[in-house]
């Protein structure tokens, strides 16, 4: 008795033979041929329907339901990360309030549209309101132009008017008279923050106290708990069979390489074993897979160090060169204080000048003083611009003081990650300089991936920043895993080869994951085929 496939193969051949032998000269011939084709077509359409229904059901029966629930764990991590952010002992109220992030946005205003820039100003004002400070136009007197713009800004903000056309018009008018208006608004905010520093410090201290009491934990406990949760997340989040099915369906992995007879599979296994192992030797193979899993994590961590090595090298050059390390922390602090008092002095001078300008413009008879008011305005803009340079120097010194506070001979890579994570403004500056990035979105992408890496408490590579170079870290990994019978060579860890090396490891780990589950490679291949049919059908329908 023939099975359905044998019958179909035979039937198709005979039908094809029949159609090729049917006469097609006349209209009647053609009509007869078409009628026969329609008859066969209908029968085969029915076959197709039944087969499709059957294979879809069969494919579904092979599916592995993902029972993992990482939402609760992710929620716990997110809450603890928030506590970690506030309790972080390495930075100050300035970073915890997020002022550094906002200042970075202002100082890169060329990458924003006017509406986004207004949102940044709004966020600054919101932060003052968080500590019960209601800013009004008399707070924005850094220059005459700052006052002009911010008065309109506050009025529009108060009226809740979402239409910013009027504000745009005012801004444009001011901009042509004073193109540095944005920098001067930035200085005004910096000055206001310095003036109200105590209120912000008190606010953060109160928040810290509440968090410690409510959660019954200090910074160290918080890190310990986070470390456990991250490890748990890594275990639960590890790629499983359902992930493999989804990747295969998306075409992100080639199932054909998973079959035992696949040349890619055979060569991958042998290329990663120093001494070949007998696949039947379960304990030996278990150890091999376990080592590969660990190696994969180490290589991923190493890949991040490779990615951020320009940043690490830039830091080494700037802050860890011998000549720099001789800079005394007290000297740096002294310089910071000097700059601070210079800023105060210059701001007082500017303040006096502004009083004259505001006094003059408020007078009823201004004809005589008109020329001198213009001169005063020009002078005030000049002084504000000089102050901007002083603030730039202050910012540089500020970070230097923070760095000198923590660097020593044992300053390790993880300390560097933590330092930049704690100072968003300087991290972004360093990224921008190290990678010559001009696009703001690209910079944020780098910055976010850096933070993710810095926050990961499961990182294991320990190395002093001073001794860091990609090759030596790579060598440590190579030496460790060769001892565990893994054939890893220098070339595997060349930056351009890392992704393909991880894919080779993944191939073996995925095969092992499939083998220890209910799924088989053949079933996975079948799921992928059926999925392709469904996609093709959907595409044909859309056509």
């Amino acid at each position: 008795m023939a099975n359905f496939l044998e019958y179909i193969e035979e039937d198709i051949q005979s039908k094809k033979l029949l159609f090729s032998s049917m006469p097609v000269k006349t209209k009647t011939n053609k009509r007869k041929l078409n009628a026969k084709i329609d008859e066969v077509y209908n029968a085969y359409s029915e076959y197709k329907k039944s087969i499709k229904k059957y294979i879809e059901l069969k494919s579904k029966s092979f599916n592995v339901i993902d029972n993992r629930n990482t939402a609760d764990l992710a929620d716990k991590i997110s809450k603890l990360e928030n506590i970690r952010f506030i309790l972080n002992p390495s930075n100050t109220y300035f970073e915890k309030m997020g002022f550094d992030t906002l200042f970075y946005q202002i100082s890169n205003s060329q990458d924003f549209n006017f509406s986004s820039l207004n949102s940044v100003f709004n966020e600054f004002i919101n932060k003052f309101e968080m500590v019960n400070i209601k800013l009004n136009k008399s707070d924005f007197i850094y220059t005459y132009y700052v006052n002009q713009f911010m008065s309109s800004f506050l009025e529009i903000r108060k009226s809740n008017n979402k239409n910013i056309d009027q504000l745009t018009e005012i801004f444009e008018k001011i901009y042509w008279e004073n193109p540095e208006i944005i920098s001067h608004i930035e200085l005004n905010f910096r000055k206001l923050i310095r003036k109200n520093e105590k209120k912000f410090i008190d606010y953060i201290n109160k928040l810290k106290k509440e968090l410690i009491e409510k959660n019954n934990m200090d910074y160290k406990n918080c890190l310990n708990q986070l470390s456990i949760l991250y490890q748990e997340m890594n275990t639960i989040g590890k790629e499983n069979v359902s992930d493999i099915i989804e990747l295969a369906k998306k075409g992100e992995l080639d199932v054909n390489h998973f079959f035992e007879e696949s040349k890619v599979r055979v060569s991958t296994y042998s290329s990663l074993m120093l001494d070949s192992l007998n696949i039947e030797n379960e304990p030996a193979m278990h150890k091999f897979y376990e080592s590969l899993e660990k190696l994969k994590n180490n290589v991923k961590e190493y890949a991040n160090y490779v990615k951020f090595s320009p940043l690490i090298n830039d830091f080494k050059l700037k802050y860890l060169k011998k000549s720099n390390s001789e800079i005394n922390k007290n000297d740096a602090n002294k310089r910071l204080k000097e700059l601070e008092s210079q800023i105060d002095k210059n701001e007082n001078k500017l303040n006096k000048l502004n009083k004259k300008i505001f006094g003059t413009t408020n007078k009823f008879f201004i004809t005589k003083e008109k020329t001198s008011t213009v001169d005063l305005k020009i002078e005030s803009v000049k002084q504000a611009t000089e102050l901007y340079d002083l603030y730039q120097k202050y910012n540089e010194e500020y970070f230097k003081v923070m760095v000198l506070d923590v660097v020593n001979n044992n300053f390790a890579l993880k300390d560097l990650l933590h330092l930049y994570y704690s100072f968003d403004y300087y991290k972004k500056e360093a990224i921008k300089n190290s990678y010559e990035i001009n696009n703001y979105d690209e910079l944020i992408e780098y910055s976010d991936s850096f933070d993710l890496f810095a926050l990961d408490l499961t990182n294991v590579i320990v190395c002093p920043v001073n001794a860091f170079d990609e090759a030596s870290v790579a060598q440590v990994i190579i030496n460790k895993y060769r001892l565990l019978n893994i054939n890893i060579i220098n070339e595997d860890l060349y930056p351009e080869n890392i992704d393909s090396f991880i894919e080779r490891i993944n191939l073996i780990l995925r095969i092992q994951e499939i083998e220890k589950s209910q799924l088989t490679v053949e079933k996975l291949w079948f799921i992928v085929q059926v999925n392709k049919y469904l996609i093709n059908e959907l595409e044909n329908k859309q056509k």
Binding site: M1, A2, N3, F4, L5, Y7, I8, E9, I12, K15, K16, F19, V24, T26, K27, T28, K30, R31, L33, N34, I37, D38, V40, Y41, Y44, S45, Y47, K48, S50, I51, K52, Y54, I55, K58, E522, K523, W525, F526, Q529, Y533
Partner: protein
């Protein structure tokens, strides 16, 4: 060929996964072939 050999078992559960995929491919390809083989123009006279 005797009567028994001519009989067909339409039970799809007897086929392997590979055979099922072959079957679906054969039927789908044959349907395309049928569509292409049909003669559109039947207006001309005998």
């Amino acid at each position: 060929m005797n009567k028994e050999e001519k009989k067909v078992d339409f039970d799809l559960s007897l086929l392997t996964l590979n055979e099922l995929v072959n079957l679906y491919d054969n039927v789908t390809n044959f349907l395309s072939y049928l569509s292409e083989t049909k003669i559109e123009d039947t207006k001309e006279e005998d």
